[in-house]
Symmetry: C2
Subunit: 345 residues, 2 copies
């Protein structure tokens, strides 16, 4: 058994491509001693940048490709076209057992469509979901779905809960993670028909520690370890939170700069506030997992800088080590989501 | 024509009731010289607290009631029961022309149900919506719906846009407010079927300055003056934003206190940061409007303290002066929402 962790990275994805991703890989190779990386993309650029940033040749391998999936390529079209796209070939490395996980900063819809097509979806999972790990109240809160599924059935929400619970067990080491359903009130009669149905199914579920509805503010009070919602709500809430955090940090900087004495003290303030600002920098929790697939796929923000892409490499490495797809499959086999009959226990 | 502004206030609503609301009224009476208040609720408590806080007897009047709508009273039940509830009687003051606006911090669902029943809904409005005014990037962004309508049709979203646009014209003095539709991407093919349909209707609408989809982060960049969404999403986003803002302020305080030098400088920091913190205190923009009714009704947060309730009084006074229901009715008559034919222009 190999003890190293092998990542296939789509070097051509994201707003900044190889010139951001290769130095991030160089940094991560220094931080994670057993990391091995397959760099998938334009061979010439990869070679040049690997030399420039002195990547250790024994721990990287270039897989040359000639096509790139663009940010505005319709997800459906990438299934038929671009057989040699870096994103597609990176996912194939996971399917073919050459990598433990795939990481891309490219088009999210295309990544989801290609991952489903190449890796396949786990049995009993209707649709994969996208999950982020948010730093909340000194802990991690896993939020899903973040946009893969605009309209979700009650049963899908339950499947998300099962997957999120397994992620929290594996990635945060929680034995019995608290599962919440995002809603507009605590009371059982609140929310849409679908959310109320999902709540009922979750309440009946024997292997989930379902704590009931979580409201928007509960998300940032650490009320639950896993919060489940449909992809529309999750996407809007995540982006609104990132937008608000950036806005408040900008307002804080302006307020501090406007005061002459505090402006003189700015090195001290910078030192005192840096840990907090870093902890809440969206870059630090970059890397969303595509759950429900038969392999590990992690999505970086398209606009990630070097530090943020390194954070996504950390997350992909952690997800790759965790064997999460197999664990979710096992959990689904033990107790099918939304059903009370027991199979293969 | 009376130049004073007359508010009917449900004194019994909210977590703290008269002992918070009466001093808030005292404060607002000092701030708003032409304010007249009908205090609706328990006569004994009102009399005692009005004496204690020295409210000017010529500008207040007590309307005694004997029943209270509780936070957990099911909205449907309040229609039949509690004929002498303070909330009901306060709304009746608007219907009967004794007040220009009604303000309550009580049960939101009950307030909506009673307002619809007592005041009625404007022609061409299927369902009223709840709208908040958020302080964003030095301006005000009007967000609706915030929870009155869990599932909205495309046509309802268009009606919300018409109402929000009129509110932005009246309350912010904007001649041509920018209307955005909250969505998970900028592209026209993004979002649920309903959202895409609403987008198409908004694009065809001749009297609205529709700027297209706004993502979660755009909400806090001031991309639009009015942002429209269904009540589920709006409620979750608003509460999540309030939760995140509180959380970040607490983190900031902790970070500053942890540094010995900064702890000594805390009066200076407090002074420098107070305007920013106040600007983003949810209490400062307390007071959500129920739009689409034939009268002005404003909802305060249930947990509002004195300052926050005073902010809601300001908002109710502004809404009461604006004649917003008549203006929305006029606008709907000019150009029916979701339709291109012209009536009564």
């Amino acid at each position: 058994m190999s003890t190293s962790i092998r990542l296939a990275i789509d070097v051509m994805g994201g707003d900044f491509g190889p010139r951001c991703i290769i130095p991030a890989v160089a940094h991560s190779l220094r931080q994670i001693p057993d990391l091995q990386v397959l760099l998938v993309g334009d061979a010439k650029q990869i070679e040049h940048l690997c030399n420039k940033h002195q990547l250790p040749s024994g721990r990287i391998r270039c897989i040359p490709t000639t096509q790139i999936i663009l940010a505005d390529d319709p997800p459906a079209s990438v299934l038929r076209g671009k057989p040699d796209a870096s994103m597609r070939v990176a996912i194939q490395q996971v399917r073919d057992g050459h990598a433990d996980a795939c990481l891309s900063a490219g088009n999210t819809g295309a990544l989801m469509v290609l991952s489903r097509s190449i890796l396949g979806t786990l049995d009993k999972i209707e649709r994969p979901a996208i999950m982020a790990a948010l730093p909340v109240a000194g802990k991690t809160c896993y939020l899903l779905d973040l946009g893969a599924n605009v309209d979700c059935s009650a049963l899908q929400l339950v499947q998300f809960a099962v997957m999120g619970a397994e992620a929290a067990r594996e990635l945060s080491g929680l034995s019995d993670p608290r599962i919440g359903l995002l809603n507009i009130g605590k009371e059982v009669n609140k929310g849409s028909q679908r959310v109320r149905e999902a709540s009922e199914l979750l309440r009946q579920h024997e292997t989930l520690n379902y704590i009931g509805h979580v409201e928007g503010d509960g998300l940032f009070r650490g009320d639950a370890d896993v919060v489940v919602c449909d992809g529309f709500v999750g996407n809007v809430v995540l982006k609104a939170s990132e937008g608000l955090a950036s806005y408040m940090q900008a307002e804080l900087r302006t307020a501090l700069r406007a005061n002459l004495v505090l402006r003189c003290l700015s090195p001290l303030l910078h030192f005192a506030l840096r840990p907090m600002i870093r902890r809440h920098d969206p870059g630090c929790y970059n890397g969303a997992s595509l759950l429900g697939l038969k392999g590990v796929v992690v999505k970086s923000h398209g606009g990630a800088n070097e530090d943020a892409f390194s954070a996504a490499i950390d997350r992909a490495a952690q997800a790759g080590r965790s064997n999460l797809p197999q664990r979710i499959a096992h959990r689904l086999g033990m107790r099918p989501a939304g059903s009370r009959d027991t199979q293969a226990q």
